[in-house]
């Protein structure tokens, strides 16, 4: 118990007297007289319901929110009257451009309506009736082990930052709460699928975990978001689409379609956040490049670890025979090139077209393209 009240209320006679007068019906009612901005928000589209965008009015809204939140340092909901004596919660992030994204309110509403259930939305009984050959089963279980590892840290990162953001960033805090729930569900579904293949969990990946630690230990939310939402999740989104492509059963395909939906939404937030940063806080451009330098170093090390790479080759080639492996290498090569192409394409669209030229990862990919058979 590190935080103690400065008052022992049971020993404070004035407080106890006031409480007793209230309970006898002698109401004070000063809170009723605080001048307030009266609003009656209505859904713009009745089919959609009452959304955060419908609440974007006056002091309650987000459009007029200043770049620097100097006034509210408490839990006071944005737009509420703030009496003297509210505690200073020492939010670590009080600058709007460090967290905000175009259409953040839309991403939140989409997230809330597109939640699904790992226990009931997957045809588990149908999946259990399919026996996978040993090489495919083990490779799939290894892929699922890797994905469980990834999603556990992807749950921890947004959860870590939620309480550190200023309370005025209500829509962002709610969005990253949905993200933490999404990622927890992904860790759940990959663990459940691994334990239903007949092989169980395979081997954790040291290389991959160094990358995950880098994501978790970012110095600022903006860096965490850049590495998590845009770089890591962007690459994982391509990976989920590839996993749907190589999935051995229709039930597994559905599983990957459901997780890719969530992942694409997180990437969408990451893109719209980076655009917002570059539009409103352009002096951060160099810091972003420096952070991406190290993020790309880690992703290269983590993504190319054997226990991550080899299952892709076996699954996409559909086996361990020589011809299967040759086909698997061909398809996995194409997947990795697509993964990095899409990553740089997103960065360019966000306003970092020069990233390709500055990136050692891009140079390695270009070299690889030149050595690949036509």
């Amino acid at each position: 118990m590190s935080y103690l009240s400065t008052i022992d209320f049971t020993e404070d006679q004035a407080f106890v007297d006031r409480f007793q007068r209230t309970m006898r019906g002698d109401l004070e009612l000063s809170w009723m007289d605080v001048p307030r901005e009266r609003v009656a928000c209505r859904p713009e589209n009745a089919r959609r319901g009452l959304t955060f965008r419908d609440l974007d009015v006056g002091a309650y809204g987000f459009t007029e929110m200043p770049e620097l939140i100097r006034e509210n340092r408490s839990f006071a909901p944005r737009g509420a009257a703030m009496p003297e004596g509210l505690p200073d919660l020492q939010a670590e992030v009080s600058r709007k451009s460090e967290v905000w994204a175009y259409n953040i309110e839309g991403y939140y509403e989409e997230a809330m309506t597109r939640q699904w259930n790992a226990t009931t939305d997957i045809p588990w009984a149908e999946l259990q009736s399919v026996d996978l050959p040993e090489d495919i089963g083990k490779a799939y279980a290894q892929l699922l082990t890797f994905l469980t590892e990834v999603e556990m840290i992807a749950t921890d990162v947004p959860a870590k930052w939620m309480g550190r953001l200023n309370a005025d960033f209500f829509e962002v805090k709610n969005f990253i709460a949905t993200q933490a729930m999404d990622e927890a569900r992904h860790a759940e579904i990959f663990r459940k699928r691994a334990l239903s293949t007949g092989w169980g969990l395979m081997r954790a990946s040291a290389q991959n975990e160094f990358n995950l630690k880098f994501l978790r230990d970012a110095d600022s939310f903006a860096e965490a978001s850049l590495a998590l939402h845009l770089q890591a999740e962007g690459m994982v989104l391509t990976l989920f689409r590839f996993s749907e492509y190589i999935s051995p059963t229709e039930g597994d395909k559905k599983l990957f379609r459901l997780v890719m939906q969530d992942e694409a939404r997180h990437v969408g937030y990451g893109m719209q956040h980076l655009k917002w940063v570059l539009d409103h806080f352009p002096e951060r451009r160099e810091a972003i490049h420096h952070h991406l330098d190290e993020a790309e170093n880690f992703v290269f090390g983590g993504g190319y670890a054997t226990e991550v790479l080899e299952p892709f080759i076996i699954l996409s080639g559909k086996g361990l025979k020589k011809e299967n492996i040759a086909e698997g290498v061909r398809i996995t090569n194409a997947f990795q090139l697509k993964q990095t192409d899409e990553y740089f394409e997103r960065l360019a669209k966000c306003g970092l077209p020069e990233r390709r030229e500055r990136s050692r990862l891009w140079k390695m990919v270009e070299m690889r393209k030149q050595t690949m058979p036509a």
């Binding site: 589209n45 989409e110 309506t113 495919i136």
Partner: protein, 167 residues
């Protein structure tokens, strides 16, 4: 009384029929969540010639508009491919009630081997994945539609004995 002529594929009426089927499945699509995108479909004749193009606009839980042609449409992405690839996908859906492992839209488009995805903005492209399950279930509704191909042939009848998954 003569029965109405069957819907032709490709045609605007075909995609409108999918939109009607979607409205009839309101609860199922509501559970999948908000579905806000406009995307294009381009079907090229196997023997060359002008492609058939349609824009499908989705809002909240419904397909609210089907337009013929893509000129002037701000589409998030366009899925395109030869008639044969589209036919193979829709035949599979009609026979099995839903796409199998080889004919899901993501599988067909991932490497652009059968169908390709065109886009200008990667954020628009990502909507194909943000709404992946809604789009797949929308296409799977074609299993319920009675339609004919340009040569007068029909998709195969439903076969419940076939397995969709091929380990």
């Amino acid at each position: 009384m003569p029965s109405p002529p069957p819907i032709r594929f490709p045609s605007r009426a075909f995609f409108e029929a999918l939109g009607d089927a979607m409205r009839a499945e309101r609860e199922r699509f509501s559970r999948l969540g908000f579905f806000d995108t406009t995307f294009g479909v381009r079907i090229s004749p196997d023997d060359g010639g002008e492609p058939a193009e349609f824009a499908l606009r989705f809002e909240v839980f419904d397909c609210v508009r089907v337009m013929e042609g893509l000129a002037g449409v701000e589409a998030d992405f366009v899925v395109e491919g030869p008639f044969g690839a589209w036919r193979e996908m829709f035949d599979t859906i009609h026979a099995l009630g839903a796409a199998d492992t080889a004919q899901s839209l993501n599988t067909l488009t991932h490497f652009g081997e059968r169908l390709r995805v065109r886009y200008d903005d990667p954020d628009g492209h990502d909507k194909l994945y943000r709404f992946a399950e809604s789009i797949q279930e929308f296409l799977d509704l074609s299993a319920r539609i009675d339609y004919v191909y340009p040569d007068g042939s029909r998709p195969p009848a439903r076969r419940d004995d076939l397995r969709r998954s091929a380990p």
